[in-house]
Symmetry: C2
Subunit: 332 residues, 2 copies
């Protein structure tokens, strides 16, 4: 486990700075609500629809905030990133906008749509074996050999600040409707989105609890919060939530989240699939498994929310048709 | 065919007035775009995502604008409407907000989700046989017998003005991004949405062509535009686009659309199903068959749009799971 103390952590001001940089490029995604579904649930549920973000997930925010800050020399050489697929598309799209070459290291078993889209943005895709190879080692080797700037998927100052911009939007949209948010639940892999949102919400919506939601078996955040230091996930979880399969928190994301995040919740595959079907039915949104984890936690009652006002971030929508059809078949 | 001259038609000012009334109640739905899909298409495609509107379709806009204007006495008695399902939900939701009882006459073969949601908003649902019974006659009888105000699904001053509010949003969102819209394509049944949008766009985006899109076989608008008077649809079209199965234009909607709409296009079921799958893939939206008709017309090249900037309105997302799964199975 890396145990170095992070050199510098982003703050609320860095999130605001990222928002300025993303203005007109990232989509200000809506905060959706279904009064009918609220009545059924007995609490007020808001959905931050990041599936509608450029590239189909929140990852464009952090990626552009990072890639657009390359020096002219770095930009000439290009970037390398590793990703299960959403950061891949975010970096590829940002690199295309900025005009820099991108190499993306992706697991062989990543959803075909994610691989195809990453290539369609013009990136070179290098596939690896998620079980037997170490993506970080491959990334560092390619970075060194080819002189490319490594764009980490979560443990990076500007990535975290960029992901936080959605938090400014959540807080402002809630305020505009006169809502006080009791909790915001966030799908959590490496913790970059959670950390960014927590930075934004701590300033903009101080009474709001932020919760990290991870797939059952990938409980590295729960373990790390419990022990107070970075831990690896326990047993072997299912790979269904392909976007959230990180083995342990990042150094920077852990330093932020242990301070600002209330705790971690976990959800099983059936709850996630049901959440996908309910997002389809009530919000007309296509949500991928990992993107539906926070909604699943809200709907299974993992957190007591009766009578409260709760926001679930639906963080991505890049899902294979067969998987989506199965979710509808079982739960719609 | 009714041939009376409409007493008074709504104008741009009535659309603006409706927008004020809907502020904070209707959702200002996003104008979505996929740069990746644009590259593939060779033109710039914007999606007005009315599937994200309250009740899952644009119909809430007109319904609330109408129902909120009842006199105290009318409000005490209640409203009656007939609808294939989206106007039903719009009227039921508006009636609930306003605190007036609602009776909705729906075809027996309407999608189960639409019937269930209409009931969930507290409306009384009366089912009829779409082939052998006349919904207008049933509506007028119930209105007379029970003293209820009839809320027409499209041929009504305030309904048209309310539907137009989405047009103000389209024009303003395009302007904010520095876009000039060459055309806006609209799914068209009775023509209320088309008329409202055309009123808004004629003032806010004067160079933009508005096109009505109807299902093949339900070509009453094409015929009516051709002859210059209200005509019934020709042969028997498929009922796949359940939201667009009106036999002929309304008196008011025809008077507006013949003046402001460039023409009518038609699309077959396969094109609609493919558009549903592409909206799922590229925009992460759930679109129902009728709601996808305009997108289908754009994608099949029914209108030459190479190099242009075109907006397709995705007007509703209330679709059965089995239908949606089939669209994904065939085209995703």
């Amino acid at each position: 486990m890396t145990s170095s103390v992070p050199s510098e952590l982003p703050t609320y001001d860095d999130v605001k700075d990222a928002a300025g940089r993303l203005h007109g490029l990232a989509i200000e995604t809506p905060l959706l609500e279904s009064p009918l579904f609220n009545d059924e649930l007995g609490f007020r549920l808001l959905i931050k629809a990041e599936v509608l973000q450029r590239t189909g997930s929140f990852k464009f925010r952090g990626a552009y905030n990072r890639v657009s800050r390359l020096s002219p020399e770095e930009r000439r050489r290009g970037v390398v990133g590793y990703s299960s697929g959403n950061h891949a598309q975010g970096v590829a799209a940002a690199a295309k906008l900025v005009g820099t070459p991108a190499v993306i290291i992706m697991p062989k078993d990543a959803p075909a749509m994610k691989i195809a889209n990453t290539r369609a943005y013009g990136a070179e895709v290098v596939l690896y074996d998620r079980v037997n190879e170490d993506r970080e080692a491959i990334g560092e080797r390619i970075s060194r050999e080819r002189g490319l700037t490594l764009v980490h998927p979560f443990d990076d100052f500007h990535i975290i600040a960029g992901q936080g911009t959605g938090g400014l939007e959540i807080a402002r949209a809630a305020r505009a409707r006169g809502l006080r948010l009791d909790a915001v639940l966030v799908p959590c892999g490496g913790g970059g989105l959670t950390a960014g949102l927590a930075l934004a919400l701590a300033e903009e919506s101080p009474g709001t609890e932020v919760w990290a939601v991870e797939p059952a078996g990938w409980d590295d955040w729960k373990r790390s919060f419990a022990s107070g230091k970075i831990e690896r996930a326990g047993g072997h979880g299912s790979p269904f939530c392909d976007a959230l399969l990180t083995p342990s928190p990042g150094v920077m994301t852990f330093a932020i989240n242990r301070r600002l995040v209330r705790g971690a919740l976990d959800v099983d595959d059936a709850a996630v699939m049901k959440a996908m079907a309910l997002a389809w039915r009530h919000f007309k949104l296509v949500v991928e498994p990992g993107g539906a984890a926070a909604l699943a936690a809200v709907l299974t009652g993992a957190l007591p929310v009766k009578g409260k006002t709760v926001c679930a971030v639906c963080s991505g929508g890049n899902v294979e048709a067969a998987v989506f059809r199965t979710a509808l078949e079982r739960f719609a």
